[in-house]
Symmetry: C2
Subunit: 171 residues, 2 copies
DNA sequence: TCATGAATGCAACATTATAACATCGAAGAT
DNA sequence: ATCTTCGATGTTATAATGTTGCATTCATGA
């Protein structure tokens, strides 16, 4: 069966051009906020950048540490408000099974996130697969259940870590 | 499209015979533990019962309160150890998006849980749909990703709550 | 310039989960 | 029957994650 409409971007490779990811994320964020009339303040922009440090989900308190290291005073509400804003704009997703947050690769098109998350390197890839979403919707319809939000997270081992050998520790 | 092999039990109805659910859960638990050689102690049995108070996922500290009301002294590790044991035996599932725990309806057959969770009444229904699981596995294969664990949780509104009217508060 | 409301700073607190170590008790070995 | 052993439980403290409430600042439009 065809891969249907999932994103054309594959699992983030070790040596990819991450600066391009960051540039794209910032450009998309600016556009999304402009269209929605929301204010992408310096703080919010800064937090978004910190989240985009890598493709691995980051915890709220890790972000707090990073903010502090950047010289900004920050208490938990600071970061949680920024996270609320960013996720409200669809710029980031929360990974429920890790209590962590990751940048969205396609915020211009609203969608529910579907994630493959590597236990070894921490990297998360966003799937956004229409067939999965469709099947889940169909099952909800079967059950007469009104679907509001889907959480789909697969934990496992990414292509890169599989190549580097089998015996690594979890994280 | 056919419903494939998902469980024959539908969304738990308001007036169903819950005593039967409890009996079945206890019987299954006894059998599972007997087969695995694990010890279903009084404490663990008691916690399992408390979880089966309803089909709504319960938080660890709610369980602690219930245990205390039952006259048993209990600190957090008590409950978390029981939860670890029960989920290790496949007798309960953790709902990541709620930080809560719910009884498994078919512990004899190991599986990954897929849940429909009602925001209004809290009730969770376990799907265990082979088509969804198959599609997810296929996407992982496409991405050369080694799947270890799937978390699939749909938040929404259950048939019963839909019938009682549209304007209820979340929970 | 002023009024307004959103954004941020800040202190305290609530919730969820784990670590470390002591004690108890069931089950088999002697 | 008693001992030994190891898993299960008790207990205290603490870590990790998230929220409430209120004061202050700042951008924006009247």
């Amino acid at each position: 069966m065809a891969r249907s409409t999932h994103t054309d971007r594959d699992f983030p490779q070790a040596g990819h051009d991450h600066a391009a990811c960051i540039d794209e994320a910032l450009a998309a964020a600016a556009e999304v906020c402009r269209l929605s009339g929301a204010r992408l303040t310096e703080l919010r922009r800064q937090v978004l950048l910190l989240i985009w440090d890598s493709h691995a989900p980051v915890g709220a308190y890790q972000l707090l540490d990073k903010l502090s290291r950047d010289g900004r005073t920050a208490a938990p509400p600071t970061i949680y408000r920024a996270l609320d804003f960013l996720s409200g704009q669809g710029l980031i997703h929360r990974i429920e099974s890790l209590n962590a947050y990751v940048g969205c690769r396609d915020p211009r098109r609203p969608h529910v996130g579907q994630f493959l998350i590597c236990r070894e390197c921490g990297t998360a890839a966003e799937l956004e697969d229409a067939e999965i979403a469709g099947t889940v919707r169909a099952r909800c319809a079967d059950a007469d259940f009104e679907m509001h939000h889907l959480t789909l997270e697969v934990l496992g081992r990414c292509p890169g870590c599989r190549r580097t050998g089998p015996g690594q520790a979890d994280r």
